[in-house]
Each structure stands twice: as structure tokens, then as C-alpha cells.
């Protein structure tokens, strides 16, 4: 295995991870909710109006994060590198939308919150999407 020392950013990764953990802890402790992005977004797509407003407020915070951080600390934001073409982006979006709803969670709900709760279900889900992600990138970068 070769480590990519040029792109490896342990300190900002750890700092960002701590912020993610703080947000997840704050959400369950203040609002009594598990911070899972796919579940929060997916819950808006079923017509249950009484339960929509907290989801909308959370998602608004998420959407304004780049603009506000760009004002406070622009140097902390990396420019995204997106290799996938538009067709791959559409296919990936469909797979992520379907998969996270069938699997009841994504990297935040299962990966961060689920593992923090020591949930066996989330451990299985996290191992499954990690394995599938590793395999997919291997196929795309080294076989095709």
C-alpha cells in the first residue's frame, strides 16, 4: 500500500471529524434526533406535514454552511475535484438515493451516529457500504 502523503490531511480531517461528532451529539442531546442526512432528507419526501419543519431548518443550516464558512475562514475550504462525468453523477445519485433509503442510513446516520451508539445494525451497514465503495473505485480506476 502506498500512502498519498501529498493529499493526506490528518489534522484538518481530525478537526472536521470532531465538529461532525459535536453536531451529532448536540442533535441527539438537544433535539432528540439522530443526525442522519439521508433519513432527514428522505423524510421530507413522504407527505407528513407535522414533521417537516425541523428537517427543513436542519437542511437550511447545512446548505448555508459553505457561504458562512467562506466569510469566516475561507482558507479552510478546499476546491472540490470531481472526476465523474454527468452520466456517472446521475447514476451515482440514483444509487445513493435508493440505497440509503433501503439501508436506512448513510455515512452520517450509520457511520457516525450508529457506530457511536455501538449499534450492530449500523456496523454491518457501514462495513457493507465501505466494502462496496472500495470495490467500486477499484473497478473504475484499475479494471476499466
Amino acid at each position: 500500500m502506498i500512502i498519498d502523503w501529498i493529499n493526506f490531511t490528518p489534522w484538518s480531517a481530525l478537526a472536521g471529524g470532531i465538529l461532525l461528532g459535536l453536531a451529532s451529539a448536540a442533535f441527539i442531546l438537544l433535539n432528540g434526533r439522530v443526525l442522519g442526512i439521508s433519513g432527514i432528507l428522505g423524510g421530507l419526501l413522504v407527505p407528513r406535514r407535522s414533521d417537516a419543519s425541523w428537517r427543513v431548518f436542519f437542511l437550511m443550516g447545512l446548505l448555508v454552511a459553505p457561504v458562512t464558512l467562506a466569510l469566516l475562514a475561507p482558507t479552510l475550504i478546499a476546491t472540490p475535484r470531481i472526476e465523474a462525468n454527468n452520466a456517472a453523477i446521475v447514476a451515482a445519485g440514483l444509487l445513493v438515493g435508493l440505497g440509503t433509503r433501503y439501508g436506512s442510513g448513510c455515512t452520517s446516520g450509520h457511520g457516525v451516529c450508529g457506530l457511536s451508539r455501538l449499534s450492530p445494525r449500523s456496523m454491518v451497514a457501514t462495513l457493507a457500504f465501505m466494502a462496496s465503495g472500495f470495490l467500486t473505485v477499484y473497478v473504475i480506476r484499475h479494471l476499466i
Binding site: 451529532s24 438537544l30 457500504f129
Partner: protein
């Protein structure tokens, strides 16, 4: 008060994703590419998040109401079934294909990146397909 907290938590989570570098699909794919030049950053992101999350959820499990007086919605599902595994495998394939998962894609869309917006629209379409399939399944079993 609850609405302010939800907004603030969303903002904090978005900042965390930006600071960690996870809103850059190149960094995510760099982690998933074990056979190439491997960027271990994502493991540090998860490590930092779980370290703090463990403390938060340990405390949360002991409470019957949240600190703002809301009901605690801790997951109750225990079964490890085909839906969980196949769904997660499907999600992982899409994650590896684009380097986006739901949170970072929404944040990158908020930053005005067109491909992130295209991803989010497709992801919502996938979620709506799930709702449609579920409705059909319920109609069949009734």
C-alpha cells in the same frame, strides 16, 4: 428554540464536512482507492467524529427527554436483514462512483457546484423511487 438548534446543528455539521475535506469527492475517492495512492484522511474524520459521538450517545441513552425537552428518537430497529445489507451495498457503489454521499453533496450544492446539484436531484429521484416501490409493495401485501 428547537428550530434555532436544528439550524445551528445543520450549520455546524456542514462546517465539519467542509473543514474535514469530505465535500471534495477527490478526497473521498482517494480514501476508497486502496490499490492506488491512498489518502487515509477519511479514517481520521470518522475517528474524530465517533470519539465525540460516543460521549454524546452514552449520555443520550440515559435520558428520557432531550435537554430542550423534546422526545428522544433513538432507533429501535435491531434486525440485520437483506434490505439493510443490499441497500448499503447499493449506496456504497454510488458513493464510490461519484465520491459524494448525501451530506457533502448537499453542502457542495450550497456552495454552488453544478455537479453537486445534479447529484442531489438524482439522489432525490432515487429516494422517490424508493417511496414508489414501497407503496407498491405495501399494496401487494395488503
Amino acid at each position: 428554540m428547537n428550530r434555532i438548534a436544528e439550524f445551528a446543528v445543520g450549520l455546524l455539521f456542514g462546517w465539519g464536512l467542509l473543514v474535514s475535506g469530505m465535500t471534495d469527492p477527490g478526497k473521498v475517492v482517494g480514501f476508497l482507492d486502496l490499490a492506488g495512492a491512498w489518502d487515509p484522511s477519511l479514517a481520521f474524520v470518522m475517528g474524530g467524529a465517533i470519539l465525540v459521538g460516543l460521549l454524546g450517545f452514552t449520555l443520550a441513552k440515559k435520558r428520557t427527554r432531550s435537554f430542550l425537552g423534546a422526545a428522544m428518537h433513538l432507533p429501535t430497529a435491531r434486525d440485520i436483514d437483506r434490505r439493510l445489507v443490499l441497500g448499503s451495498l447499493t449506496f456504497g457503489a454510488g458513493w464510490g462512483l461519484a465520491g459524494f454521499c448525501p451530506g457533502p453533496a448537499l453542502v457542495a450544492m450550497g456552495a454552488g457546484i453544478p455537479k453537486a446539484a445534479l447529484f442531489v436531484v438524482s439522489m432525490i429521484a432515487g429516494m422517490l423511487l424508493f417511496e414508489l416501490f414501497e407503496r407498491q409493495r405495501r399494496a401487494r401485501t395488503q
